[in-house]
């Protein structure tokens, strides 16, 4: 898969329109007044005052509450749904199940076949079986509990490592192999023969669950034949196209609104059955329906980061040059193909200079919830293997881990056809400046095996990475309107996931038009009133939307200049735009305030339309990263404390330093979760059910699990080719190297190479005890 391909994960299965070319785009900014500053968000007031209306806050007159009955078995056939008790219960206004006409709707058609909305064949615990709407959520839940379902419980497989073993129960009739991806360049056998040191290791990352704080769900309301949905979503247009297709209603009659949303991390890129179900319940009851999933349902049914079983064999010369990498991965996207594992091998293919590479990835079906894209799909898993291997290779050849990586930096993409160059690669700067900011060499001397004393052991570790996308691309259409009083309205389809998208866009307009960012009103994420945007994901929102916003603002400026030239009776080329005023270069007395331009007063508004221009031909736009951390391990209890982090990121231009740093710290926090606390546990042997479907048993990092000492170090290289703002994506690269950096630091502190996540006290104390026994 290439980042230019139409089936890149964040637009998979949805139609993506083409937008016109923007024409001549403005040159790169030489200096900026607003962009790059530390600016609190333009919607900070709304988010801290409680006045921001999230989709789950929507409360319509006469509104009902929906709830979904889900299959309690990992694999079962629904024989009969007995809803007889429900009709007599108080407050119940709508009910749909496999026995009602709504069940005939086709939810999905793909290679695995056609799937109905309420498919009697339930392939994972948590599949939807029936749904109700009632006057209160309590009554809805009572009704769900009163529905009796007769299931034929089928044999299941809930461990991907057993999926392909002969005799394993098939998830789909064609078997449990979803697909195998193979990549090869050079000759790995020759590469290993030429190596001075060859190491091989197996790694495993456990399944991670997104669990954004706002659960998945929506409020659905029909006005005649028109449906409006307020949905907690990363992309309102993705929801619109899918739900309209399933319900067979025209796109124009399907409006999706998602101004605010409480976190997604990839799990809200696509539509879920719940939105269709809410719409059907609303239709049946002729009343608005709010349907938000329970927390437990979000653990079962709306995505995960696939568990990955990886083997990596690597060859290196004494001088540190890699000679060969051979990688295999067995992973699962759960019960349905989800494209979730296709990028696990990307770092092995592309991060380091290596002439001989072979990578084989096998995606299998199991009876578990389907994967959805999860922040930098595949990359943290691949980094867990590759970056621990680089650490081990450095140790084996007696080289500093940073130096080993510096020896193998590539200026072009080796895994893409034609080996296109990166527009910029700041990987070397990330490694060097990150190491300097961390005090890497000193810290390595003062911690680790040589400094080991007592039972509290300190160590430092680092890891690198790149993100295969993050360059953004068309389409994007943005409208900027400047009113006669000088205030501005920005109309953009993209969602702001909490990354600060709206604030960055306001800063771009402010930069061009010389007005305050807070004077800009933003309309976004509404299919009824804003322009098309692909879902916010893939770290592509800023590099996609910001250039289009800039083009729109520049067009407004151009129109104002033309009006001013007419008013001042001078040549356009003579004028310069100075924010509030437009002034003649030659004659300073020739000036006019924007608000005083007659043509603007007459028109009332000037409209600029901006499109996203194409990406540079035969070049790749990728962000790069290096992270460094220090840990302390209590070798008596197995407790791990992460003391500090330094994160050096080349994501091109920093658009807002405050929200930039916030993203960096957030990515590290999520990476600490993968490294130390998070793991989905399926009872694969007995019941196939998930046993830790809540935040007590599935532990997210809390305030006590992250260090206060985190440093964000932007590596800000000028990238004039990437796009007209020079910004590259940030949200995903920030979580790619984290877990591997922690594992490498634990190795340095204890001498233990922990190849399986999570590095929790349970695992550490066991490994430490084993080592003591071995003496």
């Amino acid at each position: 898969m290439s980042d230019e391909s139409k089936d890149i994960y964040y637009v998979q299965g949805i139609p993506v329109p083409e937008t016109p070319l923007p024409g001549k785009e403005p040159a790169a900014w030489k200096e900026t007044n607003v962009v790059g500053r530390r600016l609190p968000r333009v919607d900070a007031y709304e988010r801290v005052s409680g006045s921001a209306v999230f989709p789950s806050d929507i409360h319509l007159p006469n509104m009902l509450y929906g709830a979904i009955l889900r299959c309690p078995h990992p694999h079962a056939q629904v024989r009969y749904v007995d809803t007889s008790a429900v009709s007599k219960m108080p407050g119940i206004r709508a009910l749909i199940s496999g026995a009602t006409p709504e069940a005939d709707l086709v939810w999905k058609k793909d290679a695995a076949g056609e799937m109905r909305l309420f498919d009697p064949h339930c392939r994972y615990e948590g599949e939807a079986v029936a749904a109700v709407a009632a006057e209160t959520p309590y009554q809805a839940r009572d009704a769900i509990n009163a529905i009796r379902v007769d299931y034929e419980v089928l044999p299941f497989v809930a461990d991907e490592r057993r999926a392909l073993i002969a005799g394993s129960p098939p998830v789909h009739s064609k078997g449990n192999l979803s697909k195998t991806d193979t990549y090869e360049r050079g000759d790995v056998a020759k590469g290993f023969a030429a190596a001075d040191v060859v190491l091989e290791e197996t790694y495993r990352t456990e399944c991670e669950l997104h669990t954004p704080l706002e659960p998945h769900g929506c409020v659905a309301n029909w006005e005649g034949n028109s449906l409006t949905v307020w949905e907690s979503s990363q992309g309102v247009y993705a929801i619109q196209s899918k739900v309209a297709e399933v319900l067979k209603i025209p796109l124009a009659r399907m409006r999706v609104i998602g101004h605010y949303m409480g976190g997604g991390f990839g799990s809200k890129l696509e539509a879920g059955k719940y939105t269709v179900i809410a719409a059907l319940l609303a239709k049946q009851s002729a009343r608005p329906v709010k349907l938000f999933l329970t927390r437990e349902e979000t653990f079962l049914a709306v995505g995960n980061r696939p568990p990955c079983n990886m083997t990596l064999k690597a060859g290196v010369k004494r001088n540190g040059m890699l000679t060969a990498l051979e990688f295999t991965c067995l992973a699962t996207g759960g019960a349905y193909p989800a494209g979730g594992i296709s990028l696990v091998d990307w770092l092995i293919r592309d991060l380091y200079t290596c002439p001989n590479v072979r990578a084989t990835s096998t995606d299998v079906f199991i009876n578990a919830g389907p994967a959805r894209a999860f922040r930098a799909p595949g990359h943290p898993q691949g980094a867990w293997a590759l970056e621990q291997m680089m650490d081990a290779l450095a140790e084996a050849v007696g080289m500093d881990p940073v130096q080993l990586r510096l020896k193998n930096i590539s200026s072009f993409s080796q895994a893409r056809e034609g080996n296109p160059a990166y527009t910029t690669t700041g990987f070397q700067e990330c490694l060097e400046q990150g190491a300097a900011a961390f005090g890497w060499e000193k810290a390595r001397r003062e911690t680790g095996p040589k400094a080991a004393q007592g039972h509290m052991r300190r160590g430092v570790g680092m890891a690198g990475g790149l993100w295969f996308a993050g360059g953004g691309r068309p389409p994007s259409t943005v409208i900027v309107k400047l009113f006669a009083d000088g205030s501005v309205n920005l109309n953009m389809g993209a969602s702001d996931l909490g990354t600060g998208t709206k604030t960055v866009m306001a800063m771009v307009v402010a930069e061009e038009l010389g007005i305050k960012p807070e004077a800009i009103q933003i309309e976004n994420a509404d299919t009824g009133t804003t322009q098309y945007a692909t879902p916010s994901g893939g770290s592509k929102t800023v590099p996609t939307e910001a250039p289009a916003v800039r083009n729109a603002a520049v067009q407004v400026k151009q129109k104002l200049m033309e009006m001013a030239a007419e008013a001042l009776k001078t040549d356009l080329s003579e004028l310069i735009y100075q924010g509030r005023e437009i002034v003649s270069r030659q004659d300073a007395s020739k000036r006019i305030a924007v608000k005083n331009i007659d043509a603007l007063k007459r028109q009332g508004v000037v409209v600029g339309v901006g499109y996203r221009g194409p990406n540079p031909k035969n070049k790749v736009v990728n962000p790069f990263a290096a992270q460094f951390c220090e840990v302390e391990v209590n070798t008596k209890t197995g407790e791990l404390k992460i003391l500090r982090f330094v994160a050096a990121h080349d994501s091109g231009r920093v658009m807002n330093r405050l929200t930039y740093d916030n993203q960096v710290f957030g990515g590290i926090t999520m990476g600490i979760g993968l490294a130390t606390t998070e793991t989905r546990i399926l009872d694969a042997g007995q019941t196939g059910k998930m046993v830790n479907r809540n935040w007590h048993d599935y532990k997210l990092p809390t305030a006590l699990d992250v260090p206060a000492d985190m440093t964000s170090l932007p590596i800000e290289l000028a990238d004039i080719e990437a796009n007209n703002t020079g910004a590259k994506g940030l949200g995903e690269p920030v979580t790619i190297p984290t877990a591997a950096a922690v594992a490498n630091a634990v190795r340095h502190a204890t001498g233990l190479r922990i190849t399986q996540t999570p590095i929790n006290p349970l695992q550490l104390v066991q490994r430490l005890a084993e080592r003591r026994k071995e003496g």
């Binding site: 005052s49 409680g50 710290f665 935040w695 997210l700």
Partner: protein, 208 residues
């Protein structure tokens, strides 16, 4: 939870009905007492089957709200869906995430683990109650300036946790701040900025 009472005592009072009104938390203790109290149905409380509403008087942000509520309704549900204060967010509805944190008599509590009937007689403060008209309160202002949030969904709970902390301890140490917000999950990972917002909020409260 039972939807109807299977056994009704002479004065219409049942143990099950009583337990229903007391919430799930009390069931474990009471069930073991059943061994000794079998057959005795003399508890002197009114029957309140689930599904039937009664008047509940809540003091919220300095105003009194009398609502009709089922005994099993949580304070979270009453505040959000009945009274309309959506600054109280549901995240898990089982006491894990803290998104629904409110102050009850000045102390941070999870509104999802508190029944509305339990909150009678207490002063409840929600995020909305920290505002001075349309002006942000000191903790809210500090969160906005320090960018101590991303998506903003856990933020009301985080702000209430810090508010409660500062009311009890106007000058908390870094470690006390970490512990003070450790019952509030932030999946976006804005913890570091929250650590920075809390002392700033303490300064604002002191009038700096």
């Amino acid at each position: 939870m039972p939807r109807k009472n299977s056994t009704t005592g002479p004065d219409g009072v049942t143990r099950r009905g009583f337990l229903t009104s007391m919430g799930a938390g009390a069931i474990g203790v009471a069930a073991s007492e059943d061994l000794f109290a079998a057959g005795k149905e003399t508890v002197d409380v009114q029957v309140m089957p689930a599904g039937q509403t009664s008047k509940v008087s809540l003091r919220v942000n300095g105003e009194t709200h009398v609502v009709l509520a089922e005994p099993r309704w949580t304070l979270l549900y009453c505040l959000r869906d009945v009274i309309g204060l959506t600054g109280v967010k549901p995240g898990c509805e089982r006491g894990e995430c803290g998104a629904c944190t409110v102050l009850i008599d000045g102390v941070p509590r999870y509104a999802c683990l508190t029944l509305a009937v339990e909150a009678q007689g207490s002063e409840v403060t929600t995020l909305e109650g920290l505002m001075d008209g349309e002006t942000l309160g000191p903790v809210q202002k500090a969160f906005a300036e320090a960018d101590a949030f991303q998506c903003g969904y856990c933020t009301p709970g985080q702000i209430m946790a810090v508010e409660g902390l500062l009311r009890a301890n106007p000058n908390p140490s870094a470690e006390e701040i970490r512990r003070g917000v450790s019952g509030n999950l932030c999946r976006c990972g804005a913890y570091k900025h929250i650590f920075e917002a809390a002392p700033r909020a303490a300064e604002f409260k002191r009038g700096k």
